[in-house]
Amino acid sequence: MARYILKRLLILIVTLWIVVTATFFLMQVLPGTPYNNPKLSASAIAQLNSSYGLDKPVLVQYGDYLLNLLHGDFGTSFQYQNQSVSTLIGQRLPVSAQLGLQALVVGVLVGLWFGALSARHQNQKLDGFLGVLSTLGISTPSFILAIMLLFLFGYDLGWLPVSGWGDSFSQTILPTLALAVGPAAITTRFVRSEMIDVLHSDYIQLARAKGIGEDQVIRKHAYRNSMIPILTLMGPMTANLLTGSTLVENIFSIPGIGQQFVSSIPTKDYPVIMGTTIVYALMLMVMILITDICTALVDPRVRLN
């Protein structure tokens, strides 16, 4: 087990290095300077470049960047002057993490419930309805959903706050809902099919044959065994949430990391773009790693090599 984790961590680091390298050189070819002021003359740009060390050969800059990265230094933002990227990310990450976690929890809980409901009533009306509902959830990009929710509950009905973060829990409801629909839909579909498999399996038939009530069968036997595979969904769902949160954070003015990523693109604030990319990649990879380890721990059939 320890060796497996070690090996995976090693791969993770190499992957991260490749991600850093690829993004770094990609940044070099994007048009424009990282300076906000559009009125800079060529000579002023040259001076700024030299004061920020951007006139050095690309490879030297790359080396410096890697070296700093080893010390946990992501550089200094161009857009947020003087602000170190690690501070920016450090302050914004908890916000995004809270939002993402809330969405994940709500989504998975709803998904578990709907999925089980669907499986129990397989091929009945409820199943069909939930099936269409969950497919609808998958086919609606979260930013479209966010806009709709904002206008319906925030503007028209005025039930919930329309922007901001940190003042009250109610502010988090709309963005959480917008983001939770995706995981909820994915989980519903997954749980349904897993559970149907389980319900058709021999040991469940045996349990039924013993005369245990359907409720009991589902609660005691089916649920547990169909929940394990949900772990494998965590990776893709996290990836999905990351994408969704960038736009949703922007719509609701939430000071998270996604909003920062979006706003750093047009300004070419590349220390921030790179820092965010690295953090995103890291989060995703760690999530996948944890998923893999958990799956292995829970399911004896999966062997680590």
């Binding site: 960038t246 990649a281 996948i288």
Partner: protein
């Protein structure tokens, strides 16, 4: 009280009938179709998609991109932001609406003396929304299909090569896939879109470059299983070349997996196009895809909600149909359901 009065022995009436096999012999595709037909939603989706496809293709003959982009600059104020009008007394579809800032719904067609009927209304420059959505749908479908086609070519080849050769080649190729899937798609797509500049071509490429991974994985796994099967071993012993085996034996046998994967990639591509549009990296104006129509009319939701809701509905329903059909196909291809 004789039992014989309650039950009669039926017995075998016709011995010959039991010998005939009732099920007609079906080819692989026939049986898939047979099983697919049982899934009403999937069939409905299939018909819907065929209709959409015919509509999109057919519309190219009648409606050019330019026609959807044009408007009369001198009369833009007369025609702009007209609500949908069906010509029938259906609420919210009868040409009434609120001007921005107004309180009451009025018949805007009457107020502005417009005799034309725009069944889906007009946008902020007086262009018919029906035309723009038609063209937008066409472009979104084109982007999605083109991206998926690239995925298909590249992903299948990649998966085949990786699975067939195995060994260190496989290891290296799988590592590459792991790295690519470690970067969130949005980051990759935005960076690539920034790099290639805006335009349909670059969007297609950006989407394709991130979506092929899933396809490659699936195909590799299938290849790994199939290459141990007897018919492949036989072909190998008979001296067939690698590409020939891949083409003759492997691909046809994993057609199901590939088709299902394609059905999942298309809606993903459609949605990613919309996300790209939302961060201003969509197709070039004045031509609009569904994504840009939605993104551009975000500011309209408060005033003219139909302008964003209509393209959003089209996008959601097309994606929905693809996913439902994909689900249906997966079940239909599933060998577990063979005996049904």
């Amino acid at each position: 009280m004789a039992a014989s009065q309650d039950f009669t022995l039926v017995g075998i009436q016709n011995e010959a009938a039991t010998e005939t096999i009732n099920k007609p012999a079906l080819t692989f595709w026939q049986s898939v179709w047979h099983r697919l037909k049982k899934n009403k939603l999937a069939v409905l989706s299939l018909y819907f998609l065929i209709a959409i496809g015919i509509f999109a293709l057919g519309s190219t003959a009648v409606l050019s991109q330019n026609a959807a982009n044009q408007f009369n600059t001198n009369q833009a104020s007369k025609y702009k932001n007209l609500p949908p009008k069906s010509g029938l007394p259906i609420p919210y579809w009868n040409g009434t609406g609120k001007e921005a800032g107004a309180v009451d719904r009025t018949d805007l067609y009457e107020a502005r003396d417009v005799s034309q009927k725009f069944i889906l209304g007009t946008d902020n420059l007086g262009r018919s929304l029906a035309k723009r959505i038609t063209v937008g749908l066409r472009i979104s479908l084109f982007v999605a299909l083109a991206a998926t086609f690239i995925d298909l070519l590249f992903g299948v080849t990649y998966g085949l090569v990786s699975g067939w050769f195995g060994g260190w080649i496989d290891t290296v190729m799988q590592r590459i896939i792991e790295i690519i899937s470690a970067i969130p798609t949005l980051v990759v797509v935005t960076l690539l879109a920034l790099l290639f500049g805006s335009g349909i071509g670059s969007i297609i490429l950006a989407i394709a470059m991130t979506n092929w991974v899933a396809m490659a994985r699936q195909v590799r796994n299938q290849t790994l299983t199939l290459k141990e099967r007897d018919f492949v071993l036989a072909a190998k012993t008979l001296g067939s070349s690698g590409p020939k085996i891949a083409y003759r034996h492997l691909v046809p046998n994993m057609a199901g997996t590939i088709i299902v994967q394609v059905m999942m990639t298309i809606p993903a591509a459609i949605m990613f196009e919309a996300v790209l549009s939302a961060i201003n990296l969509g197709v070039k104006a004045p031509t609009a895809s569904l994504g840009t129509l939605i993104a551009d009319s975000q500011s309209m939701l408060e005033y003219y909600p139909y302008q964003i809701l209509l393209p959003a509905f089209v996008l959601v329903f097309v994606s929905l149909a693809f996913i439902l059909l994909g689900d249906g196909l997966r079940d239909a291809f599933d060998p577990k359901m063979l005996d049904e």
